[in-house]
Symmetry: none
Subunit: 362 residues, 2 copies
């Protein structure tokens, strides 16, 4: 059953002007909070999966905006990735370039000074800001002042962003994570949606207040990150016999944030309905696929929030379903030709064709 | 005669969880030590070569794991390359990216601070740690302290690795080589297999205790490196009339390490049987092919050690045969189209197709 098909007419909605970014994001929040009553979850997992699988393609069609010659740069989405440190540079690149390949107009990366030249070298398409600092480069007595400066550097751009992805390649430097906590508070204050991945999940698991009760937050834990979240929040172990119930409880306990639990099937919940996306991807598990997912979810959720695509469904959930399904389709396409040699860059190259197959640009 | 064919059923073995990395590597060691009696070497070189050539394809098929959707990231192998200094950056990149292209999930490089940004810039797929130090950047009185720090930086990752490749682009800085000696001792203590190549062969030839008696060590000398090893260990010159006997003696003298002697035919021995791989590659001898070989051997030997693929054969030997044969096939494919212009990157691009031809991913 495809509940979503009648909504495909919503594709022709027009974007609000970028000059009303603040108002637009306030309406993101209102929509996320004020959504209607969800359909009841069928008690058999099989039927939920079937239902959601049918849904994913329609959701992508409904939330992907029509390309309209009257639109100008930025209106198809401005994404920012907060991540990239001395050790990790691939992850933020993967997230940011994926956002562009799916159709965002602009993709920024805020990373450390060491990481910036390298991330810039991967692609001239990204706008890379060398603003974050790690402990080793900041003296103890300067930290307060440097932190204020770092947060201000990101904050001056904040109003322009439709979504932040926090975490890919962030590392675990305590001073850097303190600055990122402040950036997340500012994003939340400006009602900018936040996708929390990688090392930012480590940060959030230890500081749940950063996202608690924020309906525009998405957490994207893998198997180990999910385990730590469950232990911390629900004070128990992961129970796969009650995967749906436990995920729903977890999201509810964190005040209705959306959780995308990555796995063989991706499970998505904001504390109410549990959606699953189990389109077959590939058995290849090269590192970096999670970074594509975070960039993909960021684009789709910012599109889903832009207009009332489905009045009775949380646009954050819709963004997660679309992001997960598109990644899986791209993974499957890449694997068809590359097989065991499939790398993350090969999958990224398939994002465009995957979206075109589902929702042609015309 | 294909002795190995009946073992192809072993392809469907399942992987142990990554949480039991320590136990798994202890079992690597037990399997390497506890193997049964080898088949006798035929006294005519011709028949040995014929026998081993038939073997190589079956060995690749037997040790390449089935791609299984229930597996998660890391279970198809985590490789680390120790190499890359101010002068050399290509070699560690070639080794690390080759491991990914063959099917490892994660590939790390530990190199000097100068080399890291460049190696990172070659590919966002690698995780590059700028942790090694050369003499010129460390004052005499700081050396002890810096060495401890460098070794600790690698050591905190050690348990996660299925194999180290030590040597590509390492250089010969004495302080750096001292640190690498310590890293090798730690790897050995953790039962992590080590492929020793390039400048690490220089190090090992002068410090045989680093690998003596370690059955999880592989040395991959080229003609000159082999000559120095023979002179040092056997106190004589290379005798090509008794190539097999001399190689076997050399491996035995170093306590049963595996030696892969690169040449027109690659000869492989752990002091007992001598295997040869002489699948035709190409007459092109561009630099960098040895780096592909070390990455390739690392992946296959970690796969061969994961489960009892062939109870009566040393998995380290099987990994060497598979790595050598796959490189030769990729070289041959690349040369078909690129001819004199064939470069190492062209060969790397052919690794995936070469493996797919032998062991389709399905």
């Amino acid at each position: 059953m495809n509940q979503f098909a009648p909504l495909s007419i919503a594709r022709n909605y027009s974007f609000a002007s970028s000059t009303v970014a603040v108002l637009r994001r306030q309406s993101f929040l209102i929509r996320a909070l004020g959504r209607g009553i969800h359909h009841k979850v069928d008690s058999t997992i099989g039927s939920i999966m079937q239902e959601t699988e049918a849904d994913a393609v329609s959701i992508i069609r409904a939330i992907t905006p029509t390309l309209d010659p009257t639109r100008h740069k930025g209106q198809a989405g401005r994404i920012a990735v907060i991540g990239g440190c001395r050790e990790y540079t691939g992850a933020p690149y993967f997230a940011a370039i994926s956002a562009l390949k799916i159709g965002a107009d602009l993709s920024h990366v805020f990373c450390t000074k060491d990481a910036a030249p390298i991330i810039k070298s991967y692609s001239p398409e990204l706008i890379v800001h060398p603003v974050l600092e790690e402990s080793y480069s900041v003296r103890e007595e300067e930290r307060k002042q440097v932190s204020v400066k770092v947060v201000a550097e990101v904050d001056k751009w904040m109003e322009r962003f439709d979504c932040l992805v926090v975490g890919p390649g962030l590392g675990r430097d305590p001073f850097l994570l303190d600055c990122v906590s402040e950036i997340m508070k500012h994003a939340r204050h400006s009602n900018v949606p936040i996708v929390v991945d990688g090392d930012a999940l480590f940060l959030v698991t230890n500081n749940l207040d950063l996202v608690h009760g924020y309906p525009l937050a998405v957490l994207t834990p893998n198997v180990n990150e999910y385990k730590r979240l469950v232990q911390k929040v629900l004070k128990c172990e992961v129970d796969d016999a009650d995967a749906h119930g436990q995920l729903s409880s977890l999201a509810k306990q964190i005040g209705g944030v959306t959780i995308l639990r990555k796995g063989r099937s991706d499970l998505i919940s904001d504390g109410d309905l549990v959606n699953s996306v189990s389109i077959y991807g590939s058995p290849r598990r090269c590192g970096g696929q999670g970074d594509i997912l975070s960039g993909s979810v960021a684009v789709f959720l910012s599109w889903a929030h832009r207009d009332s695509v489905a009045a009775d469904r949380n646009p954050t959930i819709l963004g997660c379903i679309a992001g997960s399904a598109l990644l899986r389709k791209a993974v499957s396409l890449a694997f068809e030709t590359r097989k065991r040699a499939t790398l993350t860059t090969d999958i990224i190259e398939c994002l465009g064709r995957s979206l075109e197959d589902i929702s042609p640009a015309r």
